[in-house]
């Protein structure tokens, strides 16, 4: 039943996006023009926006998430452990629409102030070009980072837990400092940690509401952190309900189909990494949902 469902999603979406696949072929993914009025559809800006925002988010989130995982599993006093786990899981449980609302009214104005305060000499760099609107890539990346931190940290924590204590004890016995012992444990768990980061990447790619609300929704490829851009999930969320015409609809479904395939590949890969780690140890992988009860 479940297996049929997953296959079914792929088949149904593929079927529905046929008109656009036939009309545009591969050029769909290379064209930069998205003009529903004249019937021209190119998805490059959305792919770019999705990848750029997710990569930025991961750059911000990975060190923080790993820091949290290490702090909770290796460093913190036992009294603090449970509350900290609970609080980081709460971060994952807050609905994405609430993050979006907060993003619009709190984060975006804050980002705008920072952008305005940036000295002119820096503003000449391409990554800071464009008017300081607040709405744009930077806000989206920040919000995404906040949202994926709990996923990466809770899975890394599980992975670190599966590292045999002998690894650390051995390191300490050789006279290692705390940092060096933890580095040994992290090195031992590297496959699983890479898997955790990739899982976070998959989440970031598919995140819809919060990003839609702060990224500015402008289908233009740009390197600038300040520029309003667009993601694949956001364009579907924004335009699908009012898309008129078969070609328009099927172009949007094709974007959804590709998003589905990308997340499928990334999730499977990361799951394989985490499992290969698990198989060598007596470690049961947790479900992705950070807040599932134990």
């Amino acid at each position: 039943m479940l297996i049929a469902l997953v296959c079914g999603i792929g088949v149904v979406l593929a079927h529905q996006s046929m008109p656009s696949i036939q009309k545009f072929g591969m050029s769909f993914w290379r064209t930069e023009i998205w003009d529903p009025v004249s019937g021209e559809f190119g998805a490059l800006p959305f792919i770019w926006g999705t990848l750029y925002s997710s990569v930025l988010a991961l750059l911000i989130a990975t060190p923080i998430a790993l820091g949290i995982a290490i702090f909770i599993s290796e460093l913190c006093p036992a009294v603090l452990r449970q509350p900290l786990v609970f609080v980081t899981e709460l971060l994952a449980a807050i609905p994405s629409i609430v993050y979006g609302l907060w993003g619009i009214f709190v984060l975006v104005p804050a980002v705008r102030t920072v952008e305005r305060a940036l000295p002119d000499s820096l503003r000449r760099l391409p990554i800071f070009s464009g008017p300081p609107l607040g709405l744009g890539m930077l806000s989206a990346a920040l919000i995404l980072a906040i949202m994926v931190i709990p996923f990466i940290s809770s899975i890394s924590r599980e992975v670190l837990k599966s590292v045999p204590p002998a690894q650390r004890e051995g390191a300490y016995a050789l006279g290692a400092t705390r940092f060096e012992a933890i580095r040994a444990a992290v090195f031992y768990a590297r496959t699983g940690i890479i898997g955790a980061v990739m899982l976070g990447f998959g989440r970031a790619l598919g995140e819809t509401m919060a990003v839609t609300m702060v990224i500015g929704n402008n289908p233009k490829v740009s390197l600038s952190l300040f520029a309003p851009q667009y993601t694949m999930a956001a364009v579907v969320a924004n335009e699908f309900a009012e898309a008129a015409g078969e070609l328009y609809l099927s172009a949007l479904v094709e974007i959804g189909l590709v998003l589905f395939i990308i997340t499928l590949i990334i999730n499977s890969l990361s799951r394989l990494l985490i499992w290969s780690m698990a198989r060598s140890e007596t470690f049961t992988p947790e479900p992705v949902e950070a807040e599932a009860p134990a």
Partner: protein, 283 residues
């Protein structure tokens, strides 16, 4: 500085960095909660729960239709997801060795990772397009799809916690495998499964993306399953992206309700699991 000194310094810096990371992650959480509560409480009142939205320009009014809509949609999702999810979970834990069970588990994890907007697209094509009508049923279907893998994995985990001796005891008394599962193992895990369902419901009630073009939205009070229906999340989205002050206030109030649902459910679930753990520890 000696090399030992450097190593010790590096180590302390690293510990400080990890502690700092926790603080950095807690700041946004504190900020989000602070704003949602302080802004939301200003416009949250009884009318919010018992009144319909007012026309633009008139202050006051509430979101009764959306609250009822969210309840109906979550109920529909649970009706669909609980049986399928629990049965898949049973299969995964009780027939854990088989290759097919591994495939089911993989499918559940994959479905869990599918972006919610894609689930919405799928539900649109399957449940909206053929009937040419946005409907509560389609929305419930989309939410149900998201709920299945969560419930399946929770059920599996909880069944695995049930001691193997109970299974063996039932089988030794001559029960069939199905009998052993349904009258011995499942009841033992039931409280935990119920907790899992509540948590899944809390998550599902906060979903927006799958509803945008399945349940759509409805400005009027509706309980009809074949009509578009309003939901708290979609309504908050509409209000938040709209241009009016009044709307923004309502959006914050809606967000406060959503966050409270999540908070209360997680706290309850936490208390329940703690009690369960203690029970298991005693037996």
């Amino acid at each position: 500085m000696t090399s030992t000194g450097r190593r010790k310094l590096l180590s302390s810096l690293f510990v400080a960095f990890c502690a700092g990371a926790v603080v950095v992650a807690l700041i946004p959480l504190a900020f989000v909660l602070f704003f949602v509560i302080s802004q939301g409480i200003l416009s949250l009142n009884l009318a919010f729960f018992s009144h319909m939205p007012t026309p633009v320009g008139e202050s006051g009014g509430g979101m009764m239709n959306s609250i009822v809509g969210t309840l109906i949609l979550s109920g529909l999702a649970a009706l669909m997801a609980v049986p399928i999810g629990v049965i898949s979970g049973i299969y995964m834990s009780e027939y854990a060795g088989s290759r097919f069970a591994a495939a089911v588990r993989f499918a559940a994890d994959t479905l869990n990772g599918v972006p919610s907007i894609v689930i919405g697209l799928f539900a649109y094509v399957v449940a909206v397009l053929p009937f040419k009508q946005f409907s509560a049923l389609a929305g419930g279907f989309a939410l149900g799809l998201m709920m299945i893998p969560i419930i399946a994995r929770t059920t599996e985990e909880l069944l695995l916690l049930v001691p193997g001796t109970m299974r063996e005891g039932a089988l030794a008394l001559g029960a069939t495998r199905a009998r052993a599962v349904f009258s011995v193992v499942l009841p033992a895990a039931l409280p935990g499964i119920v907790t899992g369902v509540v948590l899944a419901l809390a998550r599902i009630a906060g979903e927006t993306a799958p509803l945008l073009f399945t349940a759509f939205n409805n400005a009027y009070f509706s309980t009809s399953l074949r009509q578009p229906i309003s939901s708290l999340t979609v309504q908050v989205y509409t209000y938040a992206t709209g241009p009016y002050e009044d709307w923004h206030r309502q959006a914050w109030a809606g967000a406060l309700v959503l966050v409270s649902i999540v908070l209360i459910c997680s706290l309850l679930a936490r208390l329940a699991t703690r009690r369960l753990e203690r029970m298991h520890a005693r037996s």
